[in-house]
């Protein structure tokens, strides 16, 4: 164990009391992410633990960091990097936990939610890093200044000059005053349509309407909920509310919009890629749990259509947020070759009442009574009609043929899919004894591309990867397996009780190198 003896004195350090020494750099994005989490410890546990920030940068950038990040604990400037050399963190942020005797009990490097919560528990504090706040579970830091080549003593004086950090509290939105006169250019609807619209007229976000949205939300208007890729505009609560007003949302939708913005900023979802790709992908919102009844989300006939205000306005609000704060305009950075009509609005709810199986959010680890939203980068739905199937297996074989064409008919192993099963098909499957995992397993095992499609000199997309594919037999025919695992296929029950029409929605690139589905709880009323 490292002793504090013989180490440089830390100004403000009180021997005999637990301490967290927090080494950081002002221009390190991981430090900007991590340090505000420690505010709660510093504020609530002042009597039991001292939180001491140790900045590896100069006075001016450190002051700016403290101001923008709202740091509430004491920060010491590490002049000449003496403390950094003594404690020798390899990267920042590094948090060193000293017990009452000044002994190092624990060292936490980078941003690590589980580690932060362990530290909090070690000083008798509740968890400080919740799972579903939009931040990743873990993120590596930057190399410590004292290990950088040719580090001058007065480092980092210029590093934050005028730059906006990943702050938690933003600026109030500016106000736009428009005179309501006869001229078209001064009509508020026309003004918003031209500057902030989605090619449809919007509801002008007046101070009064936005104020009503803010009344329905416990967060401060300037709180930064996320930064929207690809241009990373700050989504403050007030800006989210303004876009929600434009989309036609009711104020009570704020409780869904806040976790939705966190979900779309989740690095696993990779909205940066989803918003700029030439592919068809658009964020599909899938709603589960009691919020469906509470806010009127529709899960029955016409589920993908213009049927319910909750679905239409929530999906549209997300798109307006992506346009106005993310900057991926469909005539600019959003380079989709053909686009997706879901970019007007793309929000469905699960028909849990017509399903004998666990709903999606329960499969994803949440309680049935917990309202939730899931986000998936989806292609438009392709229909699967099967009205003459004598049994569940025949229904699933029809779905397999649609699944086989996801992305491109000879591309295997790279993509995922959502299968939206209609209640009539579900009834047949349930009657024939299929559980939801069995449906998924059947689709996985029976979706294949005939090996003969890859023979000869007919090369095309997917044929160059054939050495990676797994050969299986489907109905007596040698095939390559389409999906890498059963988990690449998600089942969602939705639609009306009449009509044996289901649908398959292909994905964009998946896994850590592409976009991963994320599920976020929606707070109760």
């Amino acid at each position: 164990m490292q002793q504090l003896q013989n180490l440089p004195a830390i100004p403000g350090y009180q021997p005999g009391k637990k301490a967290l020494l927090v080494f950081f750099e002002t221009d390190c994005p991981t430090c900007q992410l991590a340090l505000p989490y420690l505010n709660a410890l510093a504020e609530d546990s002042e009597d039991t633990v001292q939180v001491i920030g140790i900045s590896q940068d100069g006075d001016q950038p450190t002051r700016e960091f403290i101001r923008q990040m709202g740091i509430s604990f004491g920060v010491h400037l590490d002049q000449g990097l003496a403390l950094s050399r003594a404690y020798d963190p390899q990267s920042v942020p590094t948090i060193i936990f000293l017990d009452e005797a000044g002994q190092v009990q624990k060292t936490l490097t980078g941003f690590d939610k589980a580690g932060l919560n362990d530290l909090a528990a070690a000083v008798g504090h509740a968890a400080i890093a919740p799972d579903n706040d939009g931040a990743p579970a873990w993120k590596p830091g930057c190399s410590s200044r004292h290990l950088e080549p040719q580090t001058p003593d007065a480092v980092g004086e210029e590093t934050t000059g005028g730059r906006q950090l990943l702050r938690r509290i933003g600026e109030p939105a500016s106000r736009i005053t428009i005179r309501e006169e006869a001229e078209a250019e001064e009509d508020p609807v026309e003004f918003c349509f031209r500057h902030f619209g989605d090619a449809l007229p919007v509801v002008p976000p007046t101070v009064e309407r936005v104020g009503a949205m803010l009344q329905a939300c416990a967060l401060a208007p300037e709180s930064v909920v996320g930064r929207i890729p690809p241009c990373y505009g700050e989504a403050t609560v007030e800006k989210i509310a303004a876009n929600a007003v434009m989309a036609g949302c009711r104020p009570e939708m704020m409780r869904v919009l806040i976790p939705l913005v966190r979900a779309v900023c989740d690095e696993r979802f990779n909205a940066h890629g989803v918003q700029a790709t030439t592919h068809f992908a658009a964020p599909l919102i899938m709603i589960n749990g009691p919020v469906r009844q509470e806010l009127g989300f529709w899960s029955r006939q016409n589920v993908f259509s213009n049927v319910a205000r909750a679905n239409s306005t929530l999906g549209r609000a997300l798109q307006l947020i992506l346009l106005n704060l993310g900057g991926a305009r469909p005539d600019g950075i959003d380079m989709s070759a053909l686009g997706n009509s879901g970019k007007f609005s793309f929000c469905i709810a699960e028909n849990e009442e017509e399903s004998p199986w666990e709903p999606l959010h329960v499969e994803r680890g949440l309680r049935r009574e917990q309202s939730a939203l899931s986000l998936f980068a989806a292609e438009p739905p392709r229909g699967v009609s099967e009205h003459s199937a004598p049994n569940g297996e025949t229904v699933l074989r029809a779905v397999c043929h649609a699944l086989a064409t996801v992305w491109s008919y000879r591309m295997c192993g790279r993509n995922e899919a959502i299968v939206v099963l209609c209640p009539e098909h579900v009834k047949t499957l349930h009657r024939d004894g299929f559980s939801k995992p069995q449906v998924r397993q059947f689709l996985f095992e029976n979706t294949g591309i005939p090996v003969r499609y890859y023979s000869g000199r007919d090369h095309g997309e997917g044929t160059q990867l054939v050495s990676l594919y797994r050969e299986i037999m489907v109905q007596g025919e040698p095939c390559y397996r389409k999906f890498r695992a059963p988990e690449a296929i998600q089942i969602f029950v939705a639609g009306g009780t009449a009509g044996k029409f289901s649908a398959v929605l292909g994905s964009w690139g998946t896994g850590p190198a592409g976009s991963q589905m994320v599920t976020y709880p929606i707070p109760d009323k």
Binding site: G162, R163, Q164, E171, A173, S174, R175, I176, T177, I178, R179, E180, P188, F191, C192, H195, F196, P204, P205, T206, V207, V210, I228, C231, G233, E234, E238, K239, A241, A242, N243, M246, N270, H272, G273, T277, L320, N324, L325, G326, G327, Q464, W508, G509, A513, G514, S515
Partner: protein
């Protein structure tokens, strides 16, 4: 009566960086070739590297690759190319 709206857009002002001076010649220069990991990218860059060396007298070529075309280049990839006189980023499909 005037109507007051809450600005719903991104109000941050992008910081523009001036482009670096153009190279008068490629002769004797160090060039970075960034493969973004799209299929076929390496084939294209192999050919380009040959042309740059043989026809234009480029003295050194550093090849870097993004782990995935779907995300920004991570810092170590950028670092590999920082000391180059010029970088060519290739898109392919």
């Amino acid at each position: 009566m005037p109507v007051t709206l809450v600005h719903p857009g991104n109000e941050s002002v992008p910081q523009a960086a001036a482009p670096p001076p153009r190279l008068a010649s490629l002769s004797g220069k160090k060039l970075g070739l960034l493969d973004i990991s799209k299929p076929g990218g390496s084939l294209f860059l192999d050919r380009l590297e040959k042309i740059l060396r043989e026809r234009y007298g480029v003295s050194e070529v550093v090849r870097a690759q993004k782990p995935t075309f779907a995300k920004n280049a991570p810092a170590p990839v950028i670092e590999q190319l920082r000391s180059m006189d010029a970088v060519i980023e290739a898109l392919a499909d």
